[in-house]
Symmetry: C2
Subunit: 372 residues, 2 copies
Amino acid sequence: VTTALDLGRVETPAAVVDRDRMEANARRVVAYCAEHGLHWRPHIKTHKSRRIARLQLDLGARGLTVATPHEAEVMSSVTDDLLLAYPPVGEARLERVLGLPGSVDLKVALDSTAVLAPLAAGARAAGRSVGVLVEVDVGLRRVGVQGVDEAIRLAEAVAAADGVDYRGILFYAGHIRGTGPAEDEGIARLSGDVAAMRDGLAAAGLEPGIVSGGTTPTLWRSHEIEGLTEVRAGTCIFNDRDALAVGAAREQDLAYSVLATVVSTAVAGRAAVDAGSKALAKEPRGGRGTFGRLLDRPDVEVVALSEEHGMLDLEGTDWRPSVGDRVRIVPNHVCVSVNLQDRLLLEGADGDVEAVALEGRGRLSGAPEAGR
Amino acid sequence: VTTALDLGRVETPAAVVDRDRMEANARRVVAYCAEHGLHWRPHIKTHKSRRIARLQLDLGARGLTVATPHEAEVMSSVTDDLLLAYPPVGEARLERVLGLPGSVDLKVALDSTAVLAPLAAGARAAGRSVGVLVEVDVGLRRVGVQGVDEAIRLAEAVAAADGVDYRGILFYAGHIRGTGPAEDEGIARLSGDVAAMRDGLAAAGLEPGIVSGGTTPTLWRSHEIEGLTEVRAGTCIFNDRDALAVGAAREQDLAYSVLATVVSTAVAGRAAVDAGSKALAKEPRGGRGTFGRLLDRPDVEVVALSEEHGMLDLEGTDWRPSVGDRVRIVPNHVCVSVNLQDRLLLEGADGDVEAVALEGRGRLSGAPEAGR
């Protein structure tokens, strides 16, 4: 949908994506993966958009990762190679997942026989086979089986069950934040743990075909993880303050910002803009307890957020904006900011602006709309 | 829209509202306001729903408060008495606000002549008159004129301009958190400041007809603020951990929770549920750095949030949930949690469940949908 949108006049707050930067980000991941014999299966939770998922696939991504039934439904029209990196617990969720088009090679991650049994039974009833990745806890303490023995037991149960195929393992090392001595140690330990897991499973006749990991903070170190076959990094398509803070992105890789308007300069040393927590999200990440910064003035930070107000701190700058001026704000965490938007405005280098739908937002079947 | 929804089977995460508690909350505010000669003009940012706005008006609220053009458009079908508690800065925003039905008695808050001039010009061009409340900073340092002299100057400019009517003043004392010695002092200072403001304006022939304030944390102390005519408290319709923490609500006033399903118990001492930051919001408020707690087990807290995972800490409880169990989680800040939902499920005491649309979500004209 290309419309005559003018970023100088469009109502704010509005989410803007630099199309060239986004494409360069995608190409860089694909090139890195190609160099190291990895596949990129991007998590689309970051953008929730068919348009951007297609771009990733066109540029070389191998399949997509999703977290919710709605994301899976939406993305099943874009690829037949889907990984639901989430345990399909609950009748309603399972029913939707098993109702995906039969053409979809669906893989799901799970960490217990409590999830496996209804999945296998449902798959049999639906007349389909679902791939299973055994989810392994590598230290985040969120989900995942604990250690090699548990992994073997669950993989054996998967291999023995009808309706499901054992396809490998999956982990999420969200506790390793990028670079630095602690992270070096973390990556080394992770690599050792994954190798031990793979060896243990192989010795039990359960060699994993897929070893799925790779987050944006550790993206560029994925080749250090022995035996990894794919990376699921999603944030890297846009990047954010957090990716910058951990060294996973550079200034010129920041593709996403929230366009905002200065609505008040009444308070000395501050300016109020119309991007608040309902546009940026008030996540306490990305440095020094602030909630965002200007794209073009990294020293001007969002020091307070109400729902519809963001407060720029002007103490450290000579810049003095006026009411009506427009600014672009980089959020701490891009995925949750995108999730708050109605659409993305993709801006080309020539100034053209393309409105992109976020079809994967929301949770209900069909259009992600209220009241249904 | 009453449908046969079963909270035992509905897909999670889902936002649930206890209808009796919600109605009791509304009745309590109306009774308090009646007792003290105040009007309640609830901010609908909390619920964004026509259904709930109508309930508030039916029970005795006097008009509604909104923050965005979209909220104003949606609520203009529910009442003719609207306050936009936000400066209408920017052509696109101003055009939508001035395009509200002519039957709407529209009042807007502003703090500068930079906002006033285009508003007055636009109102004249649209052939309507817009009420203006001069927004005053009472210590939050967000927006608002600084002190009596500035307020008089702006009120004079409003009174002198065609297309707008001077109607009074508005403030937001978001820095006062409820009860306690510091808050007692804060309320006393606020009352003195508001009285001085009113006296100063009256002496200049600009007595404010409306003195609009009152947030949920200080709601029950609104009568201590001399000269206040209306309270805008919105959160009080549902309440949340923050309202509890500052003493503005009791356990039995918690009307909102997020219904979630346990998806993993693989990690010792924890349980993972499917309500993450995209259902609860990861706002660092409401106590001890955690992000929510179970409605029925206050000692079980959400200690970590990913986008689609919430981690319950089981260290302080004997309760051991199983995969598939359902829980209800009270968020820190209800307004931003509601803003993440597709709909609200209103549960009656008899177990009936009503799906309620959130028409005021999003920012685009018409349905709050992506891609338009």
